[in-house]
Amino acid sequence: MESCPSVKNILLLDSEGGRIAVKYYSDDWATNNAKEAFEKSIFTKTQKTNARTEAEIAMLENNIVVYKFVQDLHFFVTGGDDENELILSTVLQGFFDAVGLLLRGNVDKKEALENLDLILLCLDEIIDGGIILETDASVIAGKVASHSVDSGAPLSEQTISQALATAREHLTRSLLSG
């Protein structure tokens, strides 16, 4: 309980339970099979519920799962069973709204797959290794969407051979000192 709030996974599934994008931050599901089994059971359990206006919540395998659906997309956020439910739901809302902003309101499977890069970046900006990075949807979307050529920065002039040379230098140095 003294620990930092943490998220065990974030899932974005389609209307048949298939993966669009998933990210696991906990060792509870070590193999891909375990992950798929979890996704299947959470999808089946929540499939018939109406989580379109308000986020819904369920318990599964000693975890708390908050979820929300739109069109053919199912959003899930999982945390441990002693986690503050409202924190998880804030994360879910942040993810849900950020995806809405990034897809410009056309939130469905087709659009999500076509912009998978944005979805993956979005996940990366919300959680880092289980720790909440940001929950404000507009900030998240803002960070993801800053697609432009970097003008201010000094050009990275270093060629790959230079990079390798520096690297080799580092390597020898660490070998010598070690």
């Binding site: 519920t49 739901s89 690297a167």
Partner: protein
């Protein structure tokens, strides 16, 4: 033509268009060659990376070679200045988690990004680098990370802080050097930076109690900007409260005002975190609870399911320890029974079942009935369990609750659910004598239409045990015989056994049972025929209606007094010879018995019929065992056998436990011994008992154990005489004596010569509780009234300072060895007084009831008033004597 195009469209829609349709790993890896182009097409590269990430996300894995190739190709993309592409490169590197020699290739590029002027680069480069770095590299970049923590850009600061939290696990000594910077970041104006800094600072200092306390003190006075950081602060505050309350018993709880203040925060997550923290405080008082319960009650009627769920789940936990505090929410809870979200509804119901009072039960059950039809089995099982505990709490309400259980038993449901209901009914029948007849009839009706063979056979067995003891056993016959006509072979065989049990136990039914059994002789299953033949022959079905012999009853229905495991081993070792297998050669004591009993006690009320069966069978087994020993056969009726008490530490050479058998004028110690050394055979095993500290006991007889081979348990007995009817107490010291012989492990043969040896055991004791049987009464008040005040004895005692009221109550219950009634053994936390009701049967079969009133003052001095009623004056006095000593 137009037609053709349309058709194509249709098919696309069916197949569901996806940009990744037909994607294949090999092809994508080929595509990744574009990363090497001298003129980079950043858009194309981004797409290829997305495809690679898509594959990984779908569970595809790259081989070591593939991963290395992709990694090297990706590093080339650092040449591009496209921000979007760079972000994808970061993601890809994190996903590939490169090995340390590969990391070196990207280190300088990432370090460059870390110090670039573009904040997006800086933040992400920090996160990537910290993810893939190792200790040596970390010391090189440490300087930059420290700067980043106090960077004015919140994204950069957060990236460094979160990375710090991760790195603390692997390189704590480095991260701990950053505490000054982290401390500064805690004061940041940016909400999330403060959150991350607080989390890191606490983790750095978590082992320094004083530092954490200081941190909490300063922050609870200041301002915390983000709700997340506030939640963290609440968690740390509860930790400080918990640790300080251990040393400091008196006075106001520190920081409680802070927690209460958080209940008025504007963010719901903070309000909830604070409310939950208050409910989880050690020994929380009702005054402290009230404001937290009030805000949770408001959440119960929120439009957001998550909020309702969080509130009801917390209140459900509170109801376990402070049911009274939650009763105010009952009206809101009742409206949640119809909640769309079934988890919320189930939690609401189980909370109501915990907080409800006796008068509200009927109304509550009506509401639940409607609810049961449309929830999943997993929720129903939770409700059934809650109803069972409710019924044990209010035995007078058994009629309503039993009816409810029988109704839901008739409805659709899976095996686990049905089993939970049947188990509950069986437990109620066992614990509430008044409920027996109606309960049995409900079970009979259930097997009329039961699709689960396991449940049918279990119920039939249970009927066979309980049915003949009822006032009108004949009414069950029809139900049982119907099984013989309608069911599969397993159930039929089981029904035949049950019929025979009725025949053996109830003489008046015998002729009718014989008729039924004879019909079973023509069954098409051999097991059914065999059983019918066996029963007919042994019960005297040849026409003569004689009273069934006791031995026959024993043979047919007595519990198997040898453990199945031992029987199985003996049967396996048996070699087919002229000599028939002798069942009496099977060792009777099983090594794992205490373990099994412990398990049974821990996993209360699991297997159907098993708990009552094992309880009676343990006593039966002991009784039979003792009466089979000539020295003890004259002792008369066995009054009580204690649970085994271990006399050795676990995992010693010889494991010994003792069972105390109490008779009217005798006490028999049964020592269950196990030899755990394969190279040894013990012979002439006895326990030498020194009873010098038990004056009233005189040693009468000793029954040695001839041989104790490795891993085969055996028993030795020592009997004592004691004055009749006197609950003599005393302490006995025990020494195990034996002759030890070496065994050749290869041949298993023992040497001829043995050496005498002894082994010190722990002391055993006979205490007052050994003379008391725990017997439950269904209605304490009625029982109390009916015993009358003739032999009532009341006195008051000071118990001195105790750890807590609950500890004092338990100590007295254990001292008396009586059965607590109506759940009065549970003391509400923080209460200053408590009343406890106990019932039991004292040696000489005297019924005893006890009313205890406890009070505790501020110095933890406990006073107790003890009122005893019994059927015998001297017994009432004896109970007082137990306590007085």
């Amino acid at each position: 033509m137009a037609q053709f195009v349309k058709k194509d469209d249709d098919r696309d829609e069916e197949a569901e268009y996806s940009p990744f349709l037909g994607i294949e790993k090999g092809a994508v890896l080929q595509e990744a060659r574009v990363f090497n182009d001298p003129q980079l097409d950043s858009r194309r590269c981004s797409q290829v990376i997305t495809k690679l990430l898509y594959l990984l996300n779908q569970g595809e894995t790259f081989t070591k070679v593939e991963a290395t190739e992709v990694f090297f190709a990706v590093t080339k993309l650092f040449q591009s200045k496209d921000i979007g592409l760079r972000r994808m490169v970061y993601l890809m590197i994190k996903e590939l988690s490169p090995s340390s020699d590969e990391v070196i290739i990207v280190t300088s590029s990432l370090m460059k990004d870390m110090n670039s002027k573009t904040d997006v680069y800086r933040a992400n480069a920090i996160r990537v680098l910290c993810r893939i770095t190792d200790g040596t590299l970390l010391t090189q970049i440490e300087r930059y990370l420290k700067q980043a923590i106090v960077d004015k850009n919140p994204v950069v600061a957060s990236a460094a802080l979160v990375s710090g939290i991760h790195l603390l696990q692997t390189n704590p000594e480095i991260v701990k050097r950053w505490s000054n910077e982290v401390q500064e970041a805690v004061q940041s104006r940016a909400a999330l930076v403060q959150f991350h800094a607080l989390a890191l600072l606490h983790q750095i200092r978590q082992n320094d109690r004083l530092a954490v306390s200081k941190l909490v003190t300063s922050l609870t006075r200041g301002t915390v900007r983000s709700p997340l950081a506030q939640c963290l602060l609440i968690r740390y505050t509860s930790q400080v409260i918990r640790e300080s309350s251990m040393n400091n018993q008196s006075g106001e709880r520190p920081f409680y005002d802070f927690l209460e203040g958080c209940l008025r925060h504007k963010a719901e997550m903070v309000i909830f975190e604070a409310a939950r923290a208050i409910t989880e405080l050690n020994g929380v008082t009702s005054r402290e609870l009230t404001p937290a319960i009030t805000v949770l009650q408001l959440f119960l009627s929120s439009s957001k399911p998550v909020l309702r769920f969080a509130a009801v789940r917390t209140l459900n936990k509170v109801a376990m320890t402070h049911p009274m505090a939650v009763t105010n929410c009952n009206i809101d809870m009742e409206s949640l029974i119809s909640d769309q979200n079934r988890s919320i509804a189930t939690l609401a119901i189980t909370t109501l079942l915990k907080t409800g009072n006796e008068s509200g039960v009927d109304r509550l059950m009506k509401q639940i009935t409607n609810f049961m039809s449309d929830i999943a089995d997993e929720f129903k099982i939770v409700v059934v369990d809650a109803i069972r505990s409710l019924c044990l709490k209010f035995p007078l309400k058994y009629r309503t609750l039993m009816n409810f259980l029988s109704n839901i038993l008739r409805e659709e449901g899976g095996f686990e659910y049905k089993k939970a209901i049947v188990d509950s009914i069986v437990i109620l029948i066992r614990d509430i004598p008044d409920a027996k007849e109606s309960g049995l009839l409900h079970l009979c009706e259930f097997i009329e239409d039961c699709e689960f063979t396991y449940l049918s056979t279990q119920i039939l067995h249970f009927l066979g045990v309980e049915g003949p003891k009822t006032s009108d056993p004949s009414k069950y016959i029809r139900y049982i015989y119907n099984r013989v006509i309608l069911e599969n072979a397993t159930v039929r065989a089981s029904a035949v056994s049950t019929l025979a049990k009725f025949g053996a136990m109830v003489d008046s039914l015998k002729p009718r049972i014989f008729v039924l059994l004879r019909r079973c002789l023509y069954d098409n299953d051999d097991e059914v025929r065999d059983r019918a033949t066996l029963y007919l022959n042994t019960l005297g079905g040849d026409g003569s209606v004689i009273e069934t012999d006791k031995d026959v009853k024993e043979f047919l229905f007595g519990s198997l007094d040898i453990p199945l495991v031992n029987l199985e081993t003996s049967l396996k070792n048996y070699e087919p010879t002229e000599e028939p297998f002798d069942i009496s050669s099977v060792p009777k004591e099983v090594k794992s018995q205490p373990l099994a009993e412990k398990k049974a006690a821990g996993k209360k009320s699991t297997a159907l019929g098993a708990p009552p069966a094992s309880l009676t069978s343990a006593v039966d087994t002991y009784e039979k065992l003792l009466s089979s020993i000539p020295e003890f056969s004259t002792f008369g009726q066995l009054f009580k056998s204690s649970a085994p008490v271990e006399l050795t530490e676990a995992e010693t050479e010889y494991a010994v436990n003792v069972v105390k058998h109490i008779f009217d004028r005798h006490v028999v110690f049964q020592y269950n011994c196990t030899n755990t050394i394969p190279e040894q055979l013990l012979e002439n095993v006895v326990v030498v008992v020194d009873a010098s500290e038990a004056e009233e006991f005189a040693e009468l007889a000793t029954k040695p154990l001839k041989a104790l081979p490795y891993d085969t348990p055996g028993q030795t007995f020592v009997a004592f005489e004691k004055p009749e009817g006197v609950p003599a107490v005393g302490r006995f010291s025990n020494v195990l004596k034996f002759i030890v012989k070496e065994v050749d492990p290869s041949t298993g043969e023992a040497e001829d010569d043995g050496v005498e040896d002894e082994y010190q055991l722990e002391d055993s004791e006979i205490v007052a509780a050994d003379y008391m049987l725990k017997v439950r009464v269904s209605n304490f008040r009625n029982a109390w009234e009916s015993l009358g005040p003739d032999f009532e004895r009341v006195d008051e005692y000071g118990l001195g300072p105790r750890e807590s009221l609950s500890e004092a109550v338990n100590a007295v219950i254990n001292l008396l060895g009586m059965q607590p009634c109506e759940g009065t053994e549970v003391v509400a936390a923080n209460s200053r007084s408590h009343a406890c009701l106990l019932s039991g049967v004292y040696i000489g079969n005297v019924k005893v009831l006890v009313r205890l009133s406890f009070g505790v003052d501020s110095a933890k001095e406990v006073a107790m008033k003890l009122a005893v009623r019994s059927e015998d004056e001297s017994v009432s006095d004896a109970i007082h004597e137990i306590v007085a000593n």
